[in-house]
């Protein structure tokens, strides 16, 4: 689906959205205690000094440890009053979890995702199965919302990534493998006994599931996957062999703090993925790891920087633990994309990722 905006118009819309969100979060009538109390230490006045997205650079990179230490209630915008909220936790973090509160953002993100793919990609009315981390995660509600707005129900198989990480940390590779087999057993049972047309899962669980059965023969028509690095070879393998070239595949990049970035359409034989953030609600930039205020040139790897700006959550310049190639705007998404995402510095040091 092509965007109706030009890159320039998208940039202008982002500037307008930036001003609105900064005004919302830093006005005493609407903002949250955490940001309002931070103003004296910022060294500038966000209400006066932030006129466009470029001015977000005036903020220091967001320290996500705040999300462990602070009571999540300190992020409730005053304008939301006593409206009940969800507390979400990030994926595989062990120890004290990082938490983000939310109301409707996940519905906005996943409604937009649904509209992007149209009615045929994930058949309208089909039931979904989510196999992966559920529990206190935004994704669990988001996938059910996605299934529901497309006219289907959603089944769930939980996998606890914190336990998998602990098993691997203890050197219990065998037990980690058994746990994954247990999850896949359960998922295979649901697929065999219920009418499932669409799947959300991680690529590794998808592979394992397809080793048990032909997903095509099982009636799966669309797969939505995310959560780990997908190299071009991996994407090719998933599409050609796991999905047998017959199932629609929507790889995404996302997390609790951003929402989800959709991958742009690829030409036949092209397997390199480029993700585009749900701008203007979130912005992804590829920055110089040694000087995060500098953008990397197009085509080069740099660290992923995320800025999230919704009425529910404001998080400027969070440096993700990922790196990616900066890619230019395209017809579908008239703003920068991030390509071939991988763990930060994985080319130079050993990184454990993709435990599930």
């Amino acid at each position: 689906m092509s965007s109706s905006l030009t890159p320039q118009a998208a940039a202008e819309a982002l500037d307008v959205h930036t001003r609105e969100m900064v005004e919302w979060h830093f006005s005493p009538e609407t903002g949250c205690p955490y940001w309002l109390e931070r103003v004296p230490a910022l060294g500038f006045d966000p209400l006066k000094d932030v006129a466009c997205f470029a001015d977000i650079q005036k903020f220091e990179p967001f320290d996500d440890e705040v999300l462990r230490k602070e009571d999540p209630a300190r992020f409730i915008p005053r304008a939301f009053g006593k409206r009940p909220y969800n507390v979400f936790e990030t994926g595989g973090t062990t120890g004290m979890p990082k938490q983000r509160i939310g109301w409707d953002d996940y519905k906005t993100d996943y409604t937009e995702f649904s509209e992007h793919y149209g009615p045929g990609f994930f058949p309208q009315g089909a039931n979904w199965l989510m196999v992966g981390p559920t529990g206190p995660r935004r994704l669990r509600l988001a996938i059910e919302h996605l299934a529901n707005i497309r006219g289907g129900a959603c089944y769930f198989i939980d996998l606890d990534p914190r336990w998998v990480k602990r098993l691997i940390g203890m050197g219990e590779m065998r037990m980690a493998k058994l746990y994954q087999e247990h999850v896949i057993d359960h998922a295979a049972t649901i697929i065999r006994h219920r009418d499932i047309g669409c799947l959300f899962t991680t690529p590794k669980l998808l592979e394992s599931l397809a080793e048990r059965m032909s997903l095509v023969d099982a009636g799966i028509r669309g797969v939505f996957a995310g959560g780990t690095t997908m190299t071009p070879q991996y994407v090719r393998f998933i599409e050609e062999e796991v999905l047998e070239g017959k199932i629609n595949f929507a790889p995404t990049y996302g997390n609790t703090l951003m929402g989800l970035a959709i991958s742009k359409k690829r030409a036949p034989g092209e397997f390199s993925l480029t993700y585009h953030a749900p701008q203007p609600r979130a912005v992804l930039r590829i920055v110089n790891p040694d000087s995060p205020s500098e953008l990397m040139p197009y085509g080069e790897y740099g660290r992923v920087e995320l800025t999230t700006m919704t009425k529910e959550f404001f998080m400027p310049r969070f440096l993700e633990r990922d790196e990616a190639i900066r890619r230019p705007p395209c017809d579908e998404f008239p703003w920068d994309g991030v390509g071939d995402v991988r763990p930060f510095q994985s080319a130079t040091k050993s990184v454990i990722e993709g435990v599930y």
């Binding site: 050197g171 590779m173 037990m175 190299t231 070879q233 991996y234 393998f237 796991v242």
Partner: protein, 472 residues
Amino acid sequence: MNIPILRLGSEYLSQDLVELDLGHESLTTHTANPGLIRRDLLRISEAKAALDALPADTLATYCEQAAELFLHADLPCGDAVQSPREYVESLSALTRLPHTLVRMNMGKIHAAMSQVRTIIAGLTRNMPLNIFDRGITRIDDLIIHYFPITSSLGVSLPSNAPAVNSLWIPAPVMKIPVLLKPGREDPFTPLRIVQAMIQAGFPSKAFGYYPTTHEGGDTLLTSCGRGLSFGSDATVKKYAAFPSIQVHGTGRSKILIGEDMIQRWPEFLDVIVQSISANGGRSCINTSAILVPSHRDELANALAAELAKIKPHPRDHPDALLCGFANPALADGIDERITAHLKEPGASDVTVLHRDTARKVDAFGQTYLQPTLISCADRDHALANTEFMFPYASIVEIPQSKMLSHIGQTLVVSAFTEDPHFIRELLLSPDIERLNLGAFPTNRVQWEQPHEGNLFEFLYHRRAIQGNVAVA
């Protein structure tokens, strides 16, 4: 040069590539993602059926023919054809092994292939080869039945020891398909063996060849019915929970000289130097510790003088024995570790008295670690029972009566003794994997004896069989 993946005999070009420098040209290896290996295992029954369709005797003949092809023929190597000379030069360029050692390793592999009948006879205790065709044989009046407990053997190979490929070579003759993960710096050796076997007549479906990541290696080992791996103590620990995986870890091979023969120590210098330094000191069957009941200082001094004569040479020099380090940081780490341990009392470097350069030297565009002998007054010193990837050994004085309680797990013991009581104790020791009685080097190989574990017993189990066996 491009080296693709072999997926049960079929070439596959990956999108994930590793570029390596051969000096005169670049080499690209294609990396298999772990799921691709598991996917191929879903159709391993086709590979097993292809081997089952041929008599084991025919497969043994193919293996003998493949030995000659491996040693002498131009063979496919990805999109190129590789002569034996090009194999030697390319492998040397990647691993820094001198040409002499690559050729020596080629010779060992050739021997393993050409003597595969002897090896299998040793492993099966002389059962006829048709045990792999029928599953049943008769020895004297006893009916014996063996069945394969796996339809695949996964092997994760190292980069620094081409000859370890000889360990998996009997498997396809025993009708077990093999899936190989080459070491990053040695993509050539397992591929050359596989290509020689295919040219000789083996069905190509019997072989998987997967340059892959560490995760891919784990997948290969844990997903095949049986796995072989090589590495350090950490590798042993990593796979300890998997009874289907046999790990060839640190050897800590030793020479024990008995009280009855220690007076004759000058006669043993050549054998001990060979045990320490053969194959550049990189093998698990190289001696890493010498235990003597007396005469430690005299023997140490004489050995150190001999070891110090071994100098670095260019990789193509006919006398080259020392290997450069493809990764100089590894040499730095080993050198720093030895130096740090020498600051603890109870050990001293004897070789340093016999050479005028440091242990670590840069020469001929490479980094070398020169032979090192550490004399340990403290038998429990950190350097007394360890192993490094270069000619390194310790020498420890300890009463003969205490040697066996002191050695710990040891791959090879060469016991220089004719004392019947000591020999009896050696034969009963549970800590020794391979025992040489007499003044033999620890790196001595006899093909009819198992190396470390018995591959046949690893791949096949014996089952009781009774009743009307004649119809089987």
